[in-house]
């Protein structure tokens, strides 16, 4: 890990509540990602991690609080300003979200073709360089249907970084990768952050890999922020939530079973009534 200046805040959530319609998924969320930092947002499945990413990219608006990217309140920007803001971000989607009508090369070239007017030879140079960094230079000619899920994730990573953005958001970058690709991807995220001086935000539940590369970790669950700190601070924490998550314990404050709701009880009774 390199020493970086923690002065430039790139992404900030200030006491934010997020949700869909009247339903609130997360509240009281405060997060900060600075230049040169790798920040991990952790939490179990369904804890609202992807909702955080959607808020950072202005796909949803915060119900409360303020989400700022590059110092601008994202709720206040729209149209051309939002377009310019998004050009400074790279996003790695959970399923890759590669364009199935384009091949590997054209997928990575897509942001360059859309946002720059550089020559074809420059495009080729940059795309092959990025594909090389994810180990897929020789797969440039393949169609998306011809590559594996893990390879698709790496192509998506190359596409997310091809414009060398100032903020890169990774949604579950380690899910579905084999152990070799997993280690290389984690190292790559760290190296890219150091090389580009960008802020990297990982949305993940992979403890080992993210703790190895993160500067700061935020843990969400049960609709709120559970803990935050450096990986070392969290690893030494005695908080029962943190311990249960890090140690993968079955028993603890985070319930494994989905809570019984009145709607479920009513549904079950109706089913029983139909059968009797």
């Amino acid at each position: 890990m390199t020493t970086v200046s923690f002065s430039d805040t790139i992404l900030q959530f200030a006491d934010v509540a997020l949700g869909y319609g009247d339903f609130t998924v997360l509240s009281g969320i405060s997060i900060e990602a600075r230049k040169g930092q790798v920040v991990a947002l952790m939490g179990g499945s369904g804890s609202g991690k992807t909702t955080l990413l959607r808020a950072a990219t202005a796909q949803i608006v915060a119900q409360r609080g303020r989400v700022s990217v590059f110092g601008q309140d994202i709720a206040q920007v729209s149209g051309e300003s939002l377009r310019q803001l998004r050009q400074r971000m790279g996003v790695l989607f959970q399923q890759g979200a590669l364009f199935t009508d384009l091949n590997v090369f054209e997928n990575v070239a897509f942001p360059l073709r859309e946002h720059t007017s550089i020559s074809e030879s420059q495009i080729q140079e940059r795309v092959l360089e990025k594909l090389d960094s994810v180990g897929l230079k020789a797969a440039a000619h393949l169609r998306i249907s011809e590559i594996s899920g893990g390879m698709a994730r790496r192509v998506a990573l190359a596409r997310a970084i091809v414009l060398e953005p100032e903020l890169i958001l990774y949604d579950e970058p380690f899910a579905g990768l084999d152990p070799i690709s997993l280690g290389i991807t984690a190292r790559l995220i760290r190296d890219l952050t150091d090389k580009l001086g960008c802020a990297s935000v990982l949305i993940t539940h992979d403890v080992i890999e993210s703790f190895a590369i993160a500067d700061q970790v935020y843990m969400v669950g049960q609709g709120k922020m559970i803990a935050s700190g450096t990986p070392a601070e969290l690893a030494g924490s005695s908080d029962p939530y943190v311990r249960q998550f890090l140690d993968g314990q079955h028993d603890g404050p985070i319930a494994f079973h989905y809570p019984v709701t009145p709607a479920f009880t009513q549904w079950l009774e109706q089913r029983k009534g139909r059968r009797s």
């Binding site: 796909q59 939002l82 310019q84 996003v91 590669l98 199935t100 009508d101 897509f110 942001p111």
Partner: protein, 261 residues
């Protein structure tokens, strides 16, 4: 709520849903038109779509045109021979194709072949987060995905209708001249004499352009608004065929009434 009130409320709900849907459809049409400048500046994307949409529909259109021509030749001869006007077969085949069957049957086949593939493609792009990814990459998916496909469909449709009519005339000639033995000179000269460029060919062309707009737009709208699930995409694909076929037949009636009355 008592039953009559409930029925009225249901009816009101359905009407409101229909109007809202129509509004959303027209808004999407407006958004595509407003962004259509990119179709000129990035003509390569449109030409790719013309190739993709047109090429994939060409075979079915040509084969259907040939068989429709065969049938027109047989049926036309049967009817005309009762009045001793077999020589007018060429004219009958050409007028039927350029005025009606060319644009209408092509549009119906186009809806089934190209329309469904457009809907499924857009729906699956939505399900695979590709449209969301574009948006987050600061690329407008309407401009990048819908506009080239819309103009691709609108351009491909009249070309396909022309191919259909042309092959249909050949089909009519094969049956009328080669099989039945009508005088080839009469077959072609009656056609030349009776088919008017403005009244018949231009009106047929206008119809095929309108059908191209209607079918492509219905297909794109169905994919754009599809639920991002396998079932949602499948429903949207069915919707494309049903809605665009009905729209084509309805528009055909209106346009025929306006053009040939």
């Amino acid at each position: 709520m008592t039953t009559p009130y409930k029925a009225i409320a249901n009816l009101g709900g359905r009407v409101r849903k229909g109007i809202t849907g129509l509004g959303a459809f027209m808004r999407l049409f407006g958004s595509i038109l407003a962004r259509s400048g990119s179709a000129v500046s990035r003509a390569r994307l449109v030409s790719q779509q013309v190739h993709f949409i047109g090429n994939h529909s060409l075979l079915i259109i040509a084969v259907s045109g040939l068989f429709v021509g065969f049938v027109l030749g047989l049926q036309g001869y049967y009817t005309l021979s009762r009045y001793g006007s077999e020589e007018a077969l060429g004219l009958l085949v050409a007028l039927s194709l350029t005025r009606e069957l060319g644009p209408v049957v092509t549009a119906l086949l186009f809806a089934g072949r190209a329309g469904t593939s457009l809907t499924a493609e857009i729906g699956l792009m939505k399900a695979g987060e590709q449209l969301a990814a574009m948006e987050v990459m600061a690329v407008d998916p309407i401009r990048r995905v819908l506009v080239p496909r819309f103009w691709g469909g609108v351009i491909a449709m009249p070309i396909l209708a022309a191919v259909f009519s042309m092959v249909g005339v050949i089909g009519g000639w094969v049956v009328g001249v080669l099989l039945i033995g009508i005088d080839p000179g009469a077959f072609w000269s009656q056609m030349q004499e009776g088919v008017d460029v403005v009244n018949d060919i231009l009106n047929g062309f206008i119809k095929s352009v309108v059908f191209g707009i209607a079918v492509t737009l219905v297909a794109l709208h169905a994919g754009w608004t599809a639920r991002a699930t396998p079932e949602g995409v499948s429903r949207a694909t069915t919707r494309t065929v049903v809605h665009s076929s009905l729209l084509v037949l309805g528009l055909d009636f209106v346009m025929t009434a306006l053009m040939f009355s």
